[in-house]
């Protein structure tokens, strides 16, 4: 197979590990660490291309370090003085780990259990072959034009190759059903990568039903997809991007569970908890789903009498926490059929809600959608008759390792069971160590970007099965926009450069210096006002707490 001109090195012998071998290359064949190389071995009398990943590179022959004594005198000058030849003198010894050959029946890598013989020529793996075999695309040959496949997401290209040379298309179905985790420290491109995936999922070949929980309002540029030619299908398809601002986000009170209510009340006493759960269960048994706090209190008074002290205290707490919060409403609810639809990406903008409200609306929405998906799979009447994928920016808020979020339970349920019901989750987070381990470990596909914090690295090591040592070693050294893709969507982990977004990016840092200067200039232009004397008595304490 290998024409001798493609050969970049020659196998020297086995390495330390059972799957490792050592090969030698001259200096002009520059092979980077992480590069994929290939050689041919006969497997069952058929020649197969075996892939291997370069893991280490060391110099075995080169100019002595004594030649580097003076920084102003180049080593090649010293070498020339001594008549030491400097052209092509360096020899490198590289270590590579065998990944395997692509088994077309199993559509994944199979280990040949046999290291290459010394002297075996090695070549750089061809682009198209890598594009076929690295992601878990289930191709029947080891070299397919993957751009023609449906339901693949072009996420970027291999980092070791020139830009756009070896493009990586990951199967959307894999990560949308077995869940996805995008883990990266802040500023390294989490939401950028997520947006790239959203763009791919909204293309005419996929037409996904997407829901984005956006606590920061970072996804407002996605609307640019509408009207963009790349997203229009021949049949007139165009993705629809819906934004739900906090004004439109409502939770019907009857959708809350007793645990949710307990979580938002201020320290209810045991007696109050008992009163409340009895009344709440009574209300939920009722036919009507549109009851409010008044009805609940009336029910409590009916059961415990209208002079019960605990009911009085509960009434005050319920009115303060639920009735005065615009999020909760006796009747209104976010209509599910409006927020999920094939070819529609709904962004729930929760940037003005406080964390507790964000968690509650998420909890209630997830619970309702999960119920509908369950119903659909069991052939019951359902509002959602297609699989859905929900993406969580700041995933640690909704599934915190500390367990203090009402949404954690439903998140755990969906990550462990959702696959069967066509309900996928995508968790985006900069603090993997703060995400619940059960949730994180169920995310089958991982896109890990630069992470330097050791406890976050440990969290990835402990909960991400597919993250091998070589993946973890790469994490601190990545630069923004570079990522390691691993897990169910891949046959083997790969280092990639995330592609450019088609829509513009809205989540960058603010131009602080510019804004300061503008604000200062603004101030300078204002006419100076003399402040009126404050005749108030003592310090103002603001609005007094009524507790």
């Amino acid at each position: 197979m290998a024409d001798r001109s493609d050969v970049v090195g020659t196998v020297a012998g086995p390495g330390d590990d059972p799957n490792e071998f050592v090969f030698v290359t001259p200096s002009d064949k520059s092979i980077k660490t992480g590069e994929f190389i290939t050689y041919t071995v006969p497997v069952e009398d058929e020649p197969r291309s075996v892939f291997a990943r370069v893991t280490n590179r060391e110099l075995i022959r080169g100019l002595p370090e004594g030649f580097l004594a003076d920084p102003e005198v180049g080593p090649e000058t010293v070498a020339a003085t001594l008549g030491v030849p400097t052209d092509d003198t360096e020899l490198y010894r590289l270590t590579a780990t065998v990944i395997g050959y692509y088994d077309t029946n199993m559509t994944t890598f199979a280990n040949p259990r046999q290291l290459p013989d010394p002297g075996t020529p090695l070549s750089i793996a061809p682009h198209q072959q890598l594009e076929t075999v690295l992601p878990n695309l289930g191709c029947e040959t080891d070299s397919t034009d993957v751009t023609t496949l449906d339901g693949v997401a072009h996420i970027g290209w291999l980092l070791n190759r020139p830009a756009e040379a070896t493009n990586l298309h990951i199967p959307i179905e894999e990560f949308a059903s077995t869940h996805l985790a995008i883990l990266a420290s802040t500023g390294s491109g989490k939401s950028y990568t997520a947006s790239v995936l959203i763009e791919e999922m909204m293309r005419p070949t996929s037409r996904a039903s997407l829901l984005v929980f956006d606590p920061h309002g970072e996804y407002d540029t996605l609307a640019e997809m509408q009207g963009e030619e790349a997203f229009q299908g021949e049949d007139g398809y165009e993705p629809s991007i819906e934004y739900y601002d906090p004004e439109r986000l409502r939770v019907r009170i009857s959708e809350l569970e007793i645990g949710d209510v307990m979580a938002i009340l201020d320290n209810p006493s045991n007696r109050m908890q008992e009163r409340l759960s009895t009344a709440w269960r009574a209300m939920q048994r009722q036919e009507s789903r549109t009851w409010g706090i008044d009805e609940l209190i009336a029910e409590m008074e009916r059961i415990y009498g209208d002079d019960d002290a605990s009911v009085g205290a509960l009434e005050w707490r319920l009115r303060r926490s639920i009735e005065r919060n615009d999020l909760f409403h006796p009747e209104e609810n976010v209509p599910l059929d409006e927020i999920v639809d094939p070819g529609q990406c709904t962004v729930l903008q929760m940037d003005t809600l406080d964390r507790r409200d964000q968690q509650l609306i998420t909890t209630v929405l997830l619970r309702r959608m999960y119920r509908e998906r369950l119903g659909d799979v069991r052939d019951r009447d359902s509002d959602i008759e297609h699989p859905i994928f929900a993406l969580f920016e700041e995933g640690h808020r909704f599934a915190p390792a500390s367990g203090e979020a009402p949404s954690l339970g439903i998140m755990r349920t969906i990550t462990s069971e959702g696959r069967k019901f066509g309900f996928g989750l995508g968790i985006i987070s900069q603090r993997p160590s703060k995400i619940d381990q059960d949730v994180l470990s169920q995310c089958g596909t991982q896109i890990s970007m630069q992470i330097k914090n050791p406890s976050d690295q440990d969290a990835i090591k402990n909960s991400v099965e597919a993250a091998g040592e070589d993946v973890l070693r790469e994490l601190p050294g990545l630069t923004p926009g570079q990522a390691v893709v691993s897990g169910d969507a891949m046959n083997t982990p790969a280092l990639i450069q995330v592609r450019q977004r088609r829509t513009s990016h809205g989540a960058g840092s603010r131009p602080v210096i510019e804004e300061w200067r503008e604000a200062y200039d603004e101030r300078q232009r204002e006419p100076t006002q003399s402040e009126s004397a404050d005749f108030g008595e003592g310090d103002s304490t603001g609005v007094q707490s009524l507790d």
């Binding site: 002595p64 004594g66 030649f67 004594a69 003076d70 102003e72 005198v73 000058t77 010293v78 020339a80 003085t81 001594l82 008549g83 030849p85």
Partner: protein
Amino acid sequence: MHRSTTRQQYGDEAMTDTPTNVDSPDLDSCVRIGSIVSSNSHLDYVAEVYKERDCDRPPELHEREFGQPVFIKKTVDGTEHAVMGVIYDTQLVDPDQGRTGPRLAQDDQAQFTPGYIEERTTLAGVALLGTAEIAEDGGIQEPTHQMPRWTLEVEDTVFQCPDQVTVSFHTVDDQIQLAYMDRLLDIAGDLGSEVIVALIGRLRGMLPDNDPNQRVLDVVEQNVQWQAREQRGMV
């Protein structure tokens, strides 16, 4: 093969680049140091240093010192070449040594023995470094540090090499070169690093202080000295 062609190219340029000295040294008028008497190998010769009776002007002590570059003229195929060498070792020979009995001759009289008058001699080891063509103006051109292919003969005269010639022999394409170093280290054995240090010291003195090659020579010298000390168990 590859190396020799590049050197050929360098050589051509060196011809033009080498500073043509106003008082171009005449290779014929150089001080004669001695004549070849034997050899230990193709690159390692022994010369007997001239004394009063051997020539008009025997070399003075500083003209035949350790590390002195020398040359031997050879005409090869009609072209005059200079075979370049260096004094890497010296040895004293005294046939009278150990004879402590009474003598017939007085101390101020020369000693008469059959065939010889005054046998005390100094031998100098000459290691060959490379070759160059002798130009018409008396200087050298196309220096090469490759192993000389020609054999010297007994009674070939060894001349002291003038500084300008030493510099032009070591300059290839404006770049100082001591490509013979590994061979010289091998021939000179224990004194190998010293002879190279002595050569570098000479070259340094011949080059202007601000010459960029000075620093290159520093690095080479450091390396040689360090390696020698390492071998001798100093460090």
